[in-house]
Symmetry: D2
């Protein structure tokens, strides 16, 4: 079997993780890295002297040895770079969110489809043992009806220059929800606030409505004194707490809930009773998710299958982010999502 | 100095705490307790054989020895009971929220004012060491400008029969905000969902806007697998984490924040830098808050002063709850609050 | 069925809990309380006006209506009070540790045996849902061979006047071990230190050896800045973490361990591999343990059966404490325990 | 200034960290790595193609370009390798513990002294921001008299082949104690148990006595279901909790303690009162400790100064480990330590 040759664009925060994992996956090798900043390229050479480096990403598109391009640059550049890569006949793995607009995402999907190339978005969380376990529990109906999905993703974080906090952080939750929930949201309301003059929103609250009585809510912030990465998923039969900062018990499954009672009502009596049971923290696969993701990218290239996190998945997330931005500009006005 | 004689109406969940604390405060004594349920009265007698009990609260209003009435009954009954007590010339301490409507609250305030009686609402959290310390920090400008107030108050809780979850739980946060924040909210948006056929909303997300770039948000739920009581208050200079479930370090003050930088911008650089410093968990007064609250009630009766948690304070909270209900019925529509 | 009439001696820290629970258990009622301190008796009367109070405990022994005596006084007084009670024909429930010496414990056991009276020691932890669950797991061989029992029981605690920290705190662990472990210790080594001039040891480390490769260790302290109540029990198949401060998941069962491997050895290779599995936190009975303990006391009185925490159990614990004291005075010298 | 050329022996668990940090420190560069296992050398080449690799460490000693040797091999090989390196005129940085016996450590110290070479032991924790802060607090007398030092260092860990758990884990605590405590232990008692046929002790309890009323205790285990890295240091004025697993608040300083009271004694009264105050978690330097350690190694080579963690420091730790082993073989017999 032949090795797939990779070009990586962008060696800032995420690029080094891509290069390291592409180097470790047996079927791939990185042949070139490009970045605007020469000092980042020096770092590449220090660690991987055999990789070619350039400040001009055009060289990667033109390099006939390169089979696939991984893009780890600011969001505003995703579209141009991914489109150029596809047009040069390269498969593409692009950082989240896939593009800055849903129109751009649609164009990339079309381009990849026409050229029979793999277009995959780097929604890394989808490949974690925790998220895969949660999906398995939900698919197996262990929670029965799902009542709510609540995520808090906050810390004292890097203020991004080209996007606000929902495009930086809520994107993770939207990708996870798209993967684990059985239905799609139909409307979104979003509030956000900027505390930097002229800056993007750095704290935001996003509510998603569905056709059922499921409600989803995402709180993201770059301005919290403590780091929290905690998702609660409440179901009719069971409830899940997914705490990504727990070293070993990231997913806890509570056999808890409520049951309707038929007690004759009276002045103080409630209509419902608790149901309390065991809590189980299942053993999770701890393989590095980016490693699994790259293996999946390779498989899709070889089999010509659609990735789990394909362009359509990236588009779905961007559509919600666009609607959330629209809502945020109108002080939380409820925005309908197109099916 | 004379003892203040107390009548307590309602001996369900909260009433026993009232009776116990009125018994411990030296200047008060409970002379009578009423409840619809004879079995609750049996419990009163088992513990306090000298207290008179009755299923008819009218007897308390008519008892000339009783100086003040404490009401711990469902919300829907607060107005009638408090009004009757005031008209009988009794001072009133009423459970939160003060009434089921703002019109009722206004009428009680007027009645108390006309009769020169103390009308106090039992917003217990205001009397905790934690909340008093937070107010002190904010009043002393230790946080400088306040950027956000975020509260999560969830657990597998008792479904109330006559109110939804915001009237049961968010009421605490609204009372605390009213006490510690330097400004009042100007608009509210609220989403909620019921997961019991015909039941009140059991999960809710409430956003409050202000005239400044302060944003407040409250997440309340009766349907969470874990108990969380955590408030984050972010300021320009410092940030506070108030975790009411921490046994001894309930308030943590983080000397953290962001600072604007003048670095020449480039492709990846952010406009802001972190500021990281020490964390301090101050020693807090651990006197039972209800004890302090009752002492304050006594002081107000004796000095004819307005309580910290007076009718006006109760009204302010009910106005927001009413607007939140209104917003919830219109899928989060932003509702302006009257000044 | 007739009510069992109770006299309680000592109304300091623990006495009020005894009185409250004896009042709540349907088959018992407290008829008299004695204490040296008149102000404590005032508290009894304030809450329970129908209970007789006295500063002279002799009156309880002489009261023919009293069937059983509960003793909640300093350790040094246990023997005299319990002996007098037994000689007066009363059943006895005595606080832990049962007596100040093993000789005293033996004499009480004999006296109770001769008079056919129930002698029970108040090892409250034995009646908690957590400890009962742990015993069940061990009895059912879920852990297979037990490798270690490790307990840490520390906080900024009340310095006792008549006993050192092991007689105050390690007594709990020794009682629990006696109840849950399949074998008895054969030797003890103990180190302790006093940081108060002339005071008893306020920090101590106690090691227990068995006939197998089980090792037990108890760390107790009155001088720790944080409260810890955590026991680890390691078995061949499973391991338990019992954290008494966890609000709802006090017992966690880890399906973890080690397995011997047959890999050809080499320079860096280890002989053993981990085994990692799920963690389960079983739902526990949350009935107040003192309530269950008193019900058991009543049962034993009625059926003339030996209690779970009988005199023999109390003696076993005191023997180890005596040996530990002896070891502590000889700088940790290993002291053999008599079978 | 000239670059210091480094040879690294051993590329198993710790070697890659050494190579990475030597590569990042500006004044050092790794020129050669040796390991018995060819597959480890393949890993070196994959990351650092310019580094020479060999399975014969003799080549490193003979390489005239190499100024210093870093040794990251099993303990049993430390002495031979370090001695050979010193005799070849190379400075030495050797993993902990420095040697397998104190006699060996003394010989290395002498050899390094005679040849004017730097001999440094890799007690990495000494260079963490947490341990440096603790030493600063103790040196500045903020705790006043120190009452106890208690460390728990347990997890489901790698069973070592050539040493028991105290040589693997307690070595860290002994090095930290040597660095932060104002006095040296005078005697040691140690219990340990093996749960693998023919294996080394995998759980151990080590008690250290001093000339004062300071007591130290270390609990180490490779067989715990949860990971704990927690040290309590109790002083007369303040107490420290150092939890190495806390992401950001590793060191907490409690303004807590006890004070003697002059209250007239009575039946229940204690002789001491608590003192409760604030808790402070100071901001710590988060530079990677190995980076700082290597910078210090370079400084010592250039200035010919003794390192903080010099041979003497390594010897001190090994002497205690030897005495602990001796005690363990005699069931905890107290072993005097030579001054």
């Amino acid at each position: 079997m032949e090795t797939i040759n990779i070009g990586v664009i962008g060696y800032g925060y995420w690029g080094p993780n891509l290069v390291r994992n592409f180097a470790e996956v047996p079927e791939t090798q990185v042949v070139a890295v490009s970045d605007f900043q020469p000092e980042y390229l020096t770092k590449v050479l220090a660690r991987y002297p055999s990789i070619q480096v350039t400040t001009n990403c055009q060289e990667l598109f033109e390099n006939p040895k390169i089979d696939a391009i991984a893009i780890a640059t600011p969001v505003s550049t995703h579209f141009d770079l991914a489109l150029a890569a596809l047009r040069a006949g390269k498969h593409v793995l692009v950082s989240k969110p896939i593009t800055a607009t849903s129109a751009q995402a649609r164009q990339l999907i079309e381009e990849a489809y026409r050229r029979q190339l793999v277009l995959m978005v780097d929604h890394t969380f989808i490949y974690t043992g925790a998220v895969r376990k949660i999906r398995e529990l939900i698919v197996n109906q262990e929670l029965a009806n799902i009542y709510y999905y609540d995520s808090v993703r906050i810390n004292l974080g890097l203020f991004q220059q080209d996007v606000n906090v929902i495009w930086d952080l809520a994107v993770h939750d939207l990708a996870i929800m798209d993967y684990v929930l059985p239905s799609k949201p139909v409307a979104v309301s979003c509030f956000g606030m900027s505390h930097i003059p002229g800056g993007h929103e750095n704290i935001s609250y996003l509510t998603l409505l569905f056709d059922t009585n499921l409600i989803a809510h995402i709180h993201v912030s770059w301005l919290a004194p403590v780091k929290i990465r905690r998702t609660l998923i409440g179901g009719e039969m069971k409830m899940i707490v997914y705490d990504d900062l727990e070293p070993s018990e990231k997913v806890k499954i509570y056999d808890k809930g409520i049951t309707l009672t038929n007690n004759p009502e009276n002045f103080y009596k409630m209509m419902v009773d608790y149901r309390l049971g065991d809590m189980l923290a299942p053993q999770l696969d701890i393989t590095e998710p980016l490693y699994l993701e790259i293996q999946h990218f390779v498989d899709c290239i070889k089999t010509n299958n659609l990735p789990i996190t394909d362009g359509q998945n990236g588009l779905q997330v961007v559509q919600i982010l666009e609607a959330a931005n629209q809502s945020m500009q109108q002080q939380g006005k409820l925005i309908k999502l197109k099916p």
